[in-house]
Symmetry: C2
Subunit: 426 residues, 2 copies
């Protein structure tokens, strides 16, 4: 039903969309198999190639000619010509100028029309709820934030979130028919298949809640739900600091910590969509425990005691300020945190053999200047990060909203990216 | 060149084979892109669907009718009919009997012909070199082992390995034209693209050695090279304890320890093919350090001092025997090892959200009875292994040769599995 809804929305938006992620099928009637792959078919190849061409154009901000498109994608010039005509007709791409060819005929360049399609993203963080509308390139064109209401009436909170989303659409002036769908980023654990949040530690009283379907029903948009850390790494690949990496980690620092992971060009989600828990790595930390440690040590006064996630944010800001002012004890707390995070990312980087580590999340910008100078040499000097290739360490370029942009990127990625598994029959 | 060679060999063997794993392409001439996906084309769809049908038949040991094949794969009955005719012509499948259909016409069942195709595997372990020949189902039909020569002349050792492989083929009586290729499992680090081993810690004097190409040239078979831990997890998926899991870890215990990982139905390899290092998890251990610890503590006599990896094996056997006899100090050493391994697999299982942990490797069977009873409750009780789904803990069913079987499985998997990425143009 979820797939059917998604296809409907996207047909309205005029962009061809492949089916969902299903790569397994039944077949349990006889024998022992449960992991049978599905076949592929011809219409899906056409759709896939359209995505491939769109993807190539998107990745070349200076424009790309049809000849260059054929070379980059391996498709025939006839296929490229047919596909670009469709993309021009749909308004997704446009001719942007001419490429001089010496004595030859200049070639027409193609580029994306960013405002031709949009995606909505909403990030349910324990401290703040952020809604964004992004264009086809992932650029934020409208945004709303509000404090996350505490406890209690989840239906009411979900209704408020839906109202924020609808309000954002109205105030942005974006044509509703051009909006591909709504992405939701939530703290884990989640039930990815059902689209539920499942008792997130810092969201008291939420229990098992069908957030995806409630927001979809209330807004009228097809919705997808993923963990905040997974959304963040999808954003970094779509429009952030790691569009060129096929193997990367996103270390997420917010009310809690976690990792989004891409290995061999695929986002890792796992059995239930809950990949990315870093407690076992020693890098698990909540802003609550960080501030509680500071209060317990007398580094912060009891006025910083944490009763809700928004309090913790205030305490972290104070710790960062004290460190910048030269307070050695505050600095010691953050140094220990940096070392735990550094060990955690080194361990994961080695286990997964990745080449890029991106740091970000709602609270990261408060501590980046203090933590990165400790973490960077740990990564560079780690005996476990092999000398076979360098490992880049960077902060996100997407700011504190990375998970909200990521939520919207889930929609862009699932509807517009060229993913081989979408070639399979559903 | 590697791809060209692979295709040639497989055409000889009469099985249609898709191109390699290339999912990225150039396009760097203009703009910033380096991760452009390639398009798909129609002939590849046909090849892919043939693999899908073969895979479905293989996974149903009791046979599968054409109607069931169509249902399981999503393909039309006409497509299934055409493909099964080709598989019968190639001798890869056969009609195995009739399925009664009540009052209706009984349906003909199809099954794999195991001896129709073979694959070779060689595992370069620091202590022992093992060669196997497996059939299409991954069953070992011939095998040779010898102690790994120490130090020195790598060209000579590689030549000996090639001679073992050729000797194995000769003594097996298998038709050379039916052998799909040679898989090589080696300790990390490796350079997966170049097919090199890169200074493995316990293989002194190997330096950077082009093992894949040397063995390919000397045997005449197309060769692939992967890490031992990766080969092992591929074996478990092909024919071992986890053919039904899409998210699993293989904890490898040999001269060293490591992990093979499958997440979302894909084997994780990483930037350079070196995914699976567990040192940062605290689960890094070599049999050498284990025995050295025992000697240093006086639990083992100095006659067990390790000068080469084969010595270490002897020490581990003695430690296991002492523990079985009730020696508390030997037992303590193994208990601490079990706890380190237990923590490591819990951490990785949570980070990757997997549902199956398989233990194995050359030395595992010596310690399984002592280690598993400590590890199993750690996994079951881990606060990080989420209550969202159970996590199975099992020992390999493939014995101490799992990496050699895995090496052969690399060939079966790369030539016969239905992998969506093989639909892309190269």
């Amino acid at each position: 039903m979820r797939e059917a809804a998604r296809e409907t929305v996207c047909e309205e938006a005029g962009v061809t969309v492949r089916g969902g992620d299903g790569v397994t099928a039944g077949g349990k009637d006889r024998g022992t198999a449960s992991v049978i792959r599905r076949g592929a078919n011809l219409p899906r190849v056409g759709d896939f190639n359209e995505s491939v061409v769109l993807d190539a154009i998107r990745r070349h901000p200076t424009g790309l000619s049809r000849v260059e498109l054929a070379r980059a994608t391996g498709l025939s010039s006839q296929t490229v010509s047919n596909i670009t005509r469709r993309l021009l007709d749909q308004g997704v791409a446009r001719e942007s100028g001419k490429q001089p060819m010496g004595n030859g005929k200049p070639r027409t360049l193609l580029e994306i029309v960013p405002a031709s399609r949009y995606a909505l993203g909403v990030h349910l963080d324990p401290a703040v709820i952020t809604c964004v509308l992004v264009d086809l390139l992932g650029t934020v064109v409208a945004q709303r934030s509000r404090a996350t209401p505490r406890g209690g009436d989840t239906d009411k909170i979900a209704a408020d979130m839906a109202a924020s989303v609808s309000g954002l659409v109205a105030e942005s002036g974006a044509d509703r028919d051009r909006i591909l769908g709504l992405g939701i980023a939530a703290p884990g654990p989640i039930d990815a298949t059902a689209g539920w949040v499942v008792d997130p530690p810092e969201l008291h009283g939420w229990g098992r809640y069908p957030l995806r379907d409630r927001l979809s029903e209330a807004t009228g948009f097809t919705a997808v739900l993923d963990k905040d850390v997974t959304a963040a790494v999808v954003a970094e690949r779509w429009t952030g600091a790691a569009t060129d990496s096929r193997n990367l980690l996103f270390f997420y620092f917010g009310t809690g910590t976690g990792m989004g992971m891409v290995v061999d060009d695929a986002v890792l989600r796992g059995v239930s969509g809950n990949a990315g828990e870093v407690g076992g790595l020693g890098a698990g930390c909540s802003t609550r425990t960080l501030v509680e440690e500071a209060v317990a040590l007398g580094v912060l006064g009891t006025e910083y005691a944490v009763t809700n996630p928004a309090d913790a944010q205030r305490g972290v800001e104070r710790l960062a300020a004290m460190t910048a002012e030269g307070d050695a004890r505050a600095d010691g707390i953050l140094e220990r945190l940096a070392i735990r995070i550094g060990r955690g990312v080194c361990t994961a980087a080695t286990l997964l053999d990745i080449d890029t580590i991106v740091f970000g999340g709602p609270t990261w910008h408060l501590l980046a200047d203090r933590l990165l100078p400790t973490i960077e040499p740990m990564v560079a000097g780690s005996p476990f990060v092999k000398a076979t290739h360098p490992t880049a360490v960077v902060s996100t370029t997407l700011g504190a909203n990375v998970a909200a942009v990521g939520a919207a990127s889930l929609v862009l990625d699932s509807t517009l990216s060229a993913q081989p598994r979408t070639l399979l029959l559903t």
